[in-house]
């Protein structure tokens, strides 16, 4: 039962305690590779509101709203499965998959989309600091979570848009 015991003892003493552990202490130490698919972001200037992204989304996470006064496209982060179909089908390449991996939402039907988050925390430059600042922000309660939750495609309430 104790076969190789002495060898294991020495090995674990030298490698395990002195060497580098596999545990990563902080989430900011994580590096995502180039092909990583994070949350999709709609560029408001490029979007032509054609609605193809909403039709192709397998999770039903994109809501296209047209009313008399405004049209908007909104991505619901709580439902997104990060498949990037929307990014691939967009005819004007308005949707990009960011590298944001920290997608905590307090409400699955949260109406706070990634586009609006980007605009709100604009002052900081992107990449490493971006992910940690979004991480900090997602711990605050999402601003619109208190609104009554509605199924995304049949959303009728007016609210902040992203043109």
């Amino acid at each position: 039962m104790a076969s190789g015991f002495i060898k294991d003892l020495i090995r674990s003493f030298t490698v395990g305690i002195v060497g580098k552990t596999a545990t990563v202490r902080s989430a900011s130490e994580v590096e995502v590779p180039a092909a990583y698919r994070g949350t999709p972001i709609i560029d408001p200037e490029k979007c032509i509101l054609c609605g193809r992204c909403g039709k192709v989304c397998p999770a039903g996470a994109i809501a296209l709203r047209t009313s008399a006064s405004e049209k908007s496209v909104r991505i619901f982060v709580g439902h997104c499965v990060f498949c990037s179909e929307c990014a691939m089908i967009c005819p004007v390449s308005a949707i990009t998959m960011s590298k944001v991996w920290d997608t905590v939402v307090t409400d699955r039907l949260s109406r706070d989309t990634m586009s609006e988050r980007e605009i709100k925390r604009r002052p900081r430059p992107k990449e490493k600091q971006a992910s940690s600042s979004v991480a900090r922000e997602s711990r605050e309660p999402t601003p619109q979570a208190e609104d009554s939750a509605q199924i995304p495609p049949t959303d009728n309430k007016s609210g902040p848009t992203n043109e």
């Binding site: 190789g4 015991f5 294991d8 674990s12 395990g16 545990t23």
Partner: protein, 311 residues
């Protein structure tokens, strides 16, 4: 006297919980990961104390609720009786037989509590704990009796005046060999085998009941190791004068012994309960009995080997 009792009890509590933290960190490092905080056992204990203790609809709620209390009470008493901090223990006469019996009470409390759980997991866990207890007590008791024979008395104050490892190393090896079974870690965590019987005897306990039951087991691990250190290393640790120094030295030794448990835990899996009996009743018991026979036959081999060094 009240002050020394309180000091010893607090010390035993803190040391037992710290020992668990250290064991988990050492195991984790052997697996290339950082472990939990060293105070994790404290967090677990105090969190559980704040929860609700539910008693299932069982035939004997008395036994079910008595088991944790029995476990902790016997261990706190043992902490007072083993000479932890000085050559005389906190309440005076410490007797080896008394301590051995006290150390057997937490497993018995676990057996009672497990059987009284009304759950098949508890029943199987209790049966396994019986087998484990019988297995590891055999070499341990033989080793302790050998030391008592050599010391001429069962009083711990008399026994701890000599460092018996220098006279009876085989008995020491047999006693230390039973440590992982007493601590209920791999390869001997069969009573509370997680993947097989979901905590075994602990399965129906919650809240302060569970906290006390676990505390009883942690204290048992610590006091088991302390007894071995007191008996086999005796006065070697009492050179340093004041009480606080003694406690620190003692804690260090107990922690080293725990590291031995942790390495073994990290490198093995669980054994089967049928194998445990055979495992402990062959070689460890043989070692202890050999030492007993050699001592009775007046073969002082350690003196023969090392007598010239003046030991």
């Amino acid at each position: 006297m009240i002050a020394s009792i309180v000091v010893v009890l607090v010390y035993a509590f803190v040391a037992a919980l710290l020992l668990q933290g250290i064991r988990r960190i050492v195991v984790a490092h052997s697996q290339f990961r950082k472990g939990p905080s060293i105070f994790q056992a404290f967090y677990d204990f105090f969190k559980l104390m704040g929860k609700e203790s539910l008693t299932p609809n069982v035939t004997s709620p008395l036994l079910f609720n008595l088991a944790p209390i029995l476990s902790v009470a016997s261990m706190l008493f043992a902490a007072l009786v083993i000479p932890l901090a000085a050559s005389a223990s906190a309440v005076g006469a410490g007797d080896l037989i008394l301590v051995i019996y006290l150390l057997a009470i937490p497993p018995i409390a676990l057996i009672l509590g497990g059987s009284a759980s009304g759950s098949p997991y508890g029943a199987i866990g209790a049966a396994r704990e019986v087998a484990l207890l019988i297995a590891y007590e055999a070499p341990f008791i033989v080793a302790m009796v050998t030391v008592a024979l050599a010391a001429g008395s069962f009083q711990l104050s008399t026994i701890s005046s000599t460092a018996w490892i220098t006279v009876l190393p085989l008995a020491a090896v047999a006693a230390i060999w039973t440590l992982p079974a007493a601590a209920a870690v791999q390869p001997f965590d069969i009573a509370e085998a997680e993947t097989e019987i979901v905590s075994g005897p602990y399965v129906e306990y919650s809240g302060p009941n569970l906290a006390l039951l676990q505390l009883g087991q942690w204290l048992k691990t610590f006091l088991y190791a302390s007894l071995i250190v007191v008996v086999f290393f005796g006065t070697a640790i009492y050179h340093f004068g004041t009480g606080i120094n003694l406690i620190i030295e003692f804690a260090i030794i107990a922690l080293l012994v725990s590291a031995f448990i942790a390495f073994w835990q990290a490198t093995t899996g669980r054994t089967r309960v049928t194998r445990v009996l055979r495992y402990y009743w062959t070689i460890p018991t043989l070692l202890a009995v050999t030492d007993l026979i050699l001592y009775v036959a007046d073969v002082r081999y350690m003196h023969f080997l090392f007598g010239w060094a003046g030991l």
